[in-house]
């Protein structure tokens, strides 16, 4: 008799182990076994630790311990349920354990697999809990567990990187925080490092074609730039992330007409302002609210009109005071002298007192580029047609003559015989200014320079002729 019923218990284990190979028989007791059940709620469970809510995607597993007593299946199985650390409330664990008894009372033995599968299903809804409040000493363990498990499972998965088109293990991939797109880390680094190197910070956004595609065509994109904090996680080197944050900030400051720069020629820092706080620690910068294609005009518009007026002649008093964010020089926004106190009358000063180097660089810019007709940012063409879109303010303009072009039909300019200089010249010098290794054409200003040159040349020849004649 004893032999027969021990065989029935062994059979129960055999059945369970066939379905759940992770079930382990206790080494010390052939009729006791245990297993762990993964707890992955279908939506992350909000857990409150002393008023701070964390959403946990994974919770430490449910330990299930089953003992089959002598007399099973006539005697009920003894089941205990627990968690380490103990995050599941005792009333829930008791209820879960009791369900095994209820099942046994109703159907007798041989029902343990139904019970386990019921537990697995219940784990998806965290056993009916919609939220949980726990003492805060559990927080580090639970958070670490959730993050670690997520990472481990991600690492084991395989993804096809859409950029190098190769299957990659999750351990060398990265999932974008905002949109969940996955790319391999090598491609992400190549792309973002390249964007940051070229100063093209507006392209530091998710590479996926599904991101930033607006419903109505291509004109307005609403995708967001990646925050410095996330770039560091990919990881992008701290130097590049630093450069990224700085360029982004610089672009914003440059687009703002109310900002005055330090009059010290060796400094030229921007004046201090609350609008653009100085970057102190990029690893803390997780704002990703900046719109990639935010038009510069909007930034300027949002400024207080009164603030803009401040630079005008005639303002008096303390309103003129500005402080350089780099060298801390206190200076007057109007006369650009170091701060003279609020009762002194002063005149606006021409800021063009440049060092030789600055003058040389300014001369080069003046000679070799076309300015944007809206924001005057100098531009040089590296390749492509002569219809330009300003990198900074998105204005359309002609590279040859720097004329503003109507965005609805920018090409009309090149097809109107009235525009003698540009007619039929859309694709002129499509290889770029530097195609032959030398500057071929320097935009509108270059064209003026060439005209200047030939005028002087003509004058020289004429003078030579005159000399010969005399």
């Amino acid at each position: 008799m004893a032999h027969q019923e021990s065989e029935e218990r062994a059979e129960e284990w055999a059945v369970l182990q066939a379905i759940y190979p992770e079930l382990e028989i206790d080494p010390g007791n052939p009729f006791a076994a245990h297993m762990e059940l993964m707890v992955k709620p279908s939506t992350p469970l909000p857990v409150t630790f002393e008023q701070v809510v964390e959403r946990l995607a994974y919770l430490p597993p449910l330990h299930l311990h089953i003992t089959l007593p002598v007399g099973y299946p006539e005697a009920p199985p003894s089941v205990t349920v627990s968690t380490v650390p103990s995050w599941l409330p005792p009333d829930v664990t008791a209820k879960l354990a009791n369900q095994a008894l209820l099942l046994w009372e109703e159907y007798g033995g041989g029902q343990l697999f139904t019970y386990i599968s019921h537990l697995q299903e219940a784990a998806e809804t965290t056993f009916g809990l919609s939220e949980l409040t726990l003492p805060s000493d559990l927080k580090p363990d639970l958070l670490a567990y959730s993050i670690r498990t997520k990472r481990e499972l991600f690492d084991k998965e395989t993804f096809e990187c859409e950029v190098c088109l190769e299957p990659k293990k999750g351990s060398v991939c990265y999932r974008m925080q905002r949109c969940n797109h996955v790319f391999c880390i090598a491609c992400l680094q190549d792309y973002y490092n390249n964007c940051i190197k070229e100063g093209d910070v507006n392209n530091v956004k998710c590479m996926s074609v599904d991101c930033g595609q607006s419903a109505h065509g291509s004109s307005k994109k609403k995708d967001r730039l990646i925050s410095p904090k996330e770039l560091l996680q990919i990881p992008i080197s701290i130097d590049n992330v630093d450069r990224y944050a700085k360029i982004k900030r610089k672009k914003k400051i440059e687009a703002d007409p109310t900002i005055i720069y330090c009059p010290r020629s060796w400094c030229q820092g921007a004046m201090r302002t609350k609008k653009y706080p100085k970057i102190t620690n990029v690893s803390e910068m997780d704002e990703s609210d900046s719109e990639a294609d935010e038009p510069v005009a909007e930034v300027a518009e949002s400024q207080d009109v009164a603030a803009f007026e401040k630079r005008r002649v005639g303002i008096t008093g303390m309103d003129r005071l500005a402080v350089c964010e780099d060298c801390n020089l206190a200076f007057c926004q109007i006369c650009l002298a170091s701060w003279h106190g609020d009762f002194v009358r002063c005149e606006p000063r021409d800021s063009a007192q440049l060092t030789e180097e600055d003058q040389a660089s300014l001369n080069f810019i003046m000679k070799n580029c076309s300015p944007c007709p809206t924001c005057s940012v100098p531009c040089q063409k590296s390749h492509g047609c002569n219809h330009m879109t300003c990198f900074q303010c998105k204005s359309h303009f002609c590279y040859l003559c720097a004329a503003w072009l109507r965005p609805e039909n920018p090409y009309e300019h090149f097809n109107n015989p009235k525009n003698k200089g540009c007619y039929q010249r859309l694709m002129d010098m499509a290889e770029g200014d530097m195609a032959q290794g030398d500057i071929q054409f320097g935009g509108r200003r270059g064209a003026e320079q060439i005209a200047d040159f030939w005028e002087q040349e003509a004058m020289r020849i004429q003078m030579e002729i005159n000399e010969l004649d005399s």
Binding site: V163, E166, D190, N194, N409, N415, M427
Partner: protein, 153 residues
């Protein structure tokens, strides 16, 4: 060009070979894989039916982070192809600010095929041809077909 970029171009070529869009032939030179020559048949339902067009696709060093550059080597009368010896195209996917690294050449080729069937009038590189297409379709059809006969047979 980086090894990764070359690998990707090879892969894309492999994919194109396995599943070439109809009406297209790709000439690939392993010695110079950054320049593809594509022979494209004018789609039957377009004004370019019966024509054979030679295209050149150049991959920049930064590919796939920068878009490929497409040029029609066969002259074509089309609002979206520049009417000069370059035959440049600069719209949609091909614009540097529109291009996304997961985009593939095959998508570019499909875009070109679609454009042959239905030009994109709003983003024309040749506004006079676009205008004719809009206002005087008969005249446009005549020129397009005439050019096919003259240059694309």
């Amino acid at each position: 060009m980086s090894a990764g970029a070359k690998k990707r171009i090879m892969r894309e070529y492999g994919e194109c070979l396995a599943d070439t869009p109809p009406g297209m032939k790709i000439n690939f030179d392993e010695q110079n894989m950054t320049k593809w020559e594509v022979l494209l048949d004018g789609p039957d339902q377009s004004y370019y039916a019966g024509g054979h067009f030679k295209l050149e696709i150049n991959f920049p060093n930064e590919y796939p982070f920068k878009p490929p550059v497409v040029a029609f080597k066969t002259k074509i009368y089309h609002p979206n192809v520049s009417n000069d010896d370059k035959g440049s195209m600069c719209l949609g996917l091909l614009r540097p600010d529109e291009w996304k690294p997961p985009n593939k050449v095959v998508a570019v080729l499909r875009l070109i095929q679609t454009l042959l069937i239905e030009p994109n009038i709003d983003d024309a590189i040749e506004p006079s041809i676009a205008n004719e297409y809009k206002e005087n379709r008969k005249e446009f059809e005549k020129s397009a077909k005439d050019w096919v006969k003259r240059y694309a047979k």
